[in-house]
């Protein structure tokens, strides 16, 4: 019954302060749209860099007849098996793939046929492609093979490229985290601020309510409900806008592209929507509640 009263009160208040209510809702829409956009972009970029990181591998090259210098032979089966044992025992390692000398030549032929065409003997070594669980671990894996076991010519993980990719991933990750934090704080502040202003404009009203015998909760109820409604409507509009952006604007920009990939994707849309709605509801209700405190002291 009390709730019903609050709802009626909140609705009439929105109605009679329509332009203020619209202003507040607009702020919520903007804040939440930006937040949602940033989370979507951010998680997409993170997922993309993760995908790139996933392509980081360690190559373990075995000796050929000549490559390990005088007196060393081509690596034999036993040596290779020992290295494999050592690799799979490492917790960082996810998978070990063997690439024979023939396969290596085949891959090379595909990449640069001109180079392979006139070759006399196969100069390429056999190798293991070691796939780590996490891209960051390639250097740790390589370090454990130092000095190289018998039969291994060298261990290689494209230090420079890996470093660069990891660097980019780190920066992007940091920007995302910092940016999201800034944006959450910013939109919370903005929404709270707007609610503050619209309640401030009505502080005399609150005073009168208190003077004719309203309890704090009786005054606060409709205001908080109004905050909730503002938050709900605002974030729903923002969700719809974001959905339109995703379904209409995004495909127009990206068309058909190999950037889209099953592995690379943003945080699921429903989850983003949930975050947006939740944030704005919380801020709407708590913001009104806290702001009112000052004026309820009469």
């Amino acid at each position: 019954m009390r709730t019903k009263l609050f709802v009626t009160e909140a609705l009439r208040s929105i109605q009679s302060n329509l332009s203020t209510a619209i202003a507040a809702t607009l702020t919520v829409v903007i804040g939440m749209f930006l937040l949602g956009l940033f989370i979507a972009l951010g998680t997409w970029v993170l997922s993309y860099t993760n995908d790139v990181k996933r392509q980081l591998i360690v190559n373990v090259y075995f000796c050929t007849e000549t490559s390990c210098g005088v007196g060393k032979n081509e690596a034999n089966q036993r040596q290779m098996e020992a290295v494999r044992q050592q690799l799979v025992a490492m917790p960082e390692v996810k998978d070990v793939k063997f690439i024979s000398r023939e396969e290596a030549l085949e891959i090379m032929r595909e990449r640069s046929p001109a180079l392979v065409e006139n070759i006399v003997s196969n100069p390429l070594p056999a190798s293991y492609q070691v796939i780590p669980h996490r891209g960051e671990d390639v250097s740790a894996i390589a370090a454990q093979l130092e000095p190289p076991p018998v039969g291994v010519e060298k261990v290689n993980y494209g230090e420079k490229e890996a470093g660069r990719v990891l660097q980019v991933a780190k920066v992007v990750g940091a920007i995302f985290v910092v940016g999201s934090a800034i944006l959450i704080v910013a939109s919370v502040l903005l929404i709270a601020n707007t609610i503050r202003l619209s309640i401030f404009a009505r502080r005399r009203e609150v005073e009168v309510m208190k003077l004719v015998g309203a309890t704090n909760w009786f005054v606060r109820g409709p205001f908080m409900l109004e905050g909730l409604m503002t938050g709900l409507v605002g974030s729903l509009v923002a969700v719809v806008l974001l959905l339109i952006a995703k379904e209409v604007a995004l495909p127009a920009v990206i068309q058909r592209t190999d950037l889209t990939n099953d592995e690379v994707r943003a945080l699921a849309f429903p989850l983003i929507a949930l975050i947006m709605i939740g944030t704005s509801l919380l801020v709407g209700a708590i913001g009104s509640g806290i702001t009112l405190r000052r004026f309820l002291k009469i």
């Binding site: 309203a214 309890t215 009786f218």
Partner: protein, 253 residues
């Protein structure tokens, strides 16, 4: 009613009830004990005011502009705290009253404010209804009581007007209607006829008189010499915050 009620379970007396309920002259409704109110930094609005108003009395509060009448009303509502001294309303010391009990106090203390204090976004009807909603009155109760009270102050045809669509005197009458719609045991009126023509003023005074006869204590600040002289009731006169006169059957002075 709750424990902060100012009266022992008042009978459901219609405002218009003509039969006089028994007075209880012994029990004090309002007690000021050596009350001083200084507005920061150094404006002494009330200076060691001591007085007692019994239940069922009808008291005029007179005095020149700025003598402290409204300040007394605001102290009674616990809108302000006195700088020193004790105020007792309906047997309760206001300084000891918990924050959570203040709304109860105010529901038992109808107030006509000098500046009306109407809610700007509500119609006359809704403004009066708010005082009932606040104390959990039922919808049906509101639907019968509000039009009745607005009729008593002559605003039956203006119920759905917003305050800024009412004349000054009409706004004042809405404020009066709101003050007594829930039959509070104590009614304080701060110049309730300042914006009313003599005829309407007389009507309002008769109404207050009838309300008083049902047992309600009425404290009324006023500048209306004619009225005070005619009514011959208790008059308390303030001057620069000091009680300079307190007569049982006085005139404006």
């Amino acid at each position: 009613m709750t424990d902060t009620s100012l009266e022992p379970a008042a009978a459901p007396s219609p405002v218009v009830a003509e039969e006089a309920t028994p007075r209880q002259p012994g029990a004090p409704m309002i007690v000021f004990e050596d009350v001083t109110k200084i507005y920061e930094p150094n404006i002494k609005a009330l200076d060691r005011v001591s007085l007692t108003i019994d239940k069922g009395e009808f008291v005029f509060l007179v005095g020149p502009s700025g003598s402290g009448k409204s300040t007394m009303m605001r102290l009674l509502l616990k809108e302000l705290e006195p700088t020193s001294g004790r105020i007792i309303v309906g047997g309760r010391e206001l300084a000891r009253l918990k924050r959570s009990k203040v709304p109860m106090l105010r529901r038992n203390l109808g107030c006509v404010f000098q500046d009306f204090k109407l809610l700007p976004n509500r119609t006359a009807y809704e403004n009066v209804a708010y005082a009932l909603k606040v104390q959990g009155e039922s919808k049906r109760g509101i639907r019968t009581k509000v039009p009745e009270v607005l009729g008593l102050v002559g605003l039956s045809s203006k119920m759905s007007h917003m305050p800024d669509e009412l004349s000054g005197g009409e706004q004042q009458r809405v404020s009066i209607a709101r003050a007594f719609v829930n039959h509070p045991p104590l009614l304080i009126c701060d110049e309730p006829t300042g914006n009313l023509d003599p005829d309407t003023s007389v009507g309002i005074m008769q109404l207050l008189y009838r309300i008083n006869r049902t047992g309600t204590t009425v404290l009324m600040a006023t500048h209306d010499r004619e009225m005070v002289d005619k009514m011959r009731r208790r008059v308390i006169a303030l001057e620069e915050g000091v009680v300079v006169r307190d007569e049982r059957r006085g005139g404006y002075g």
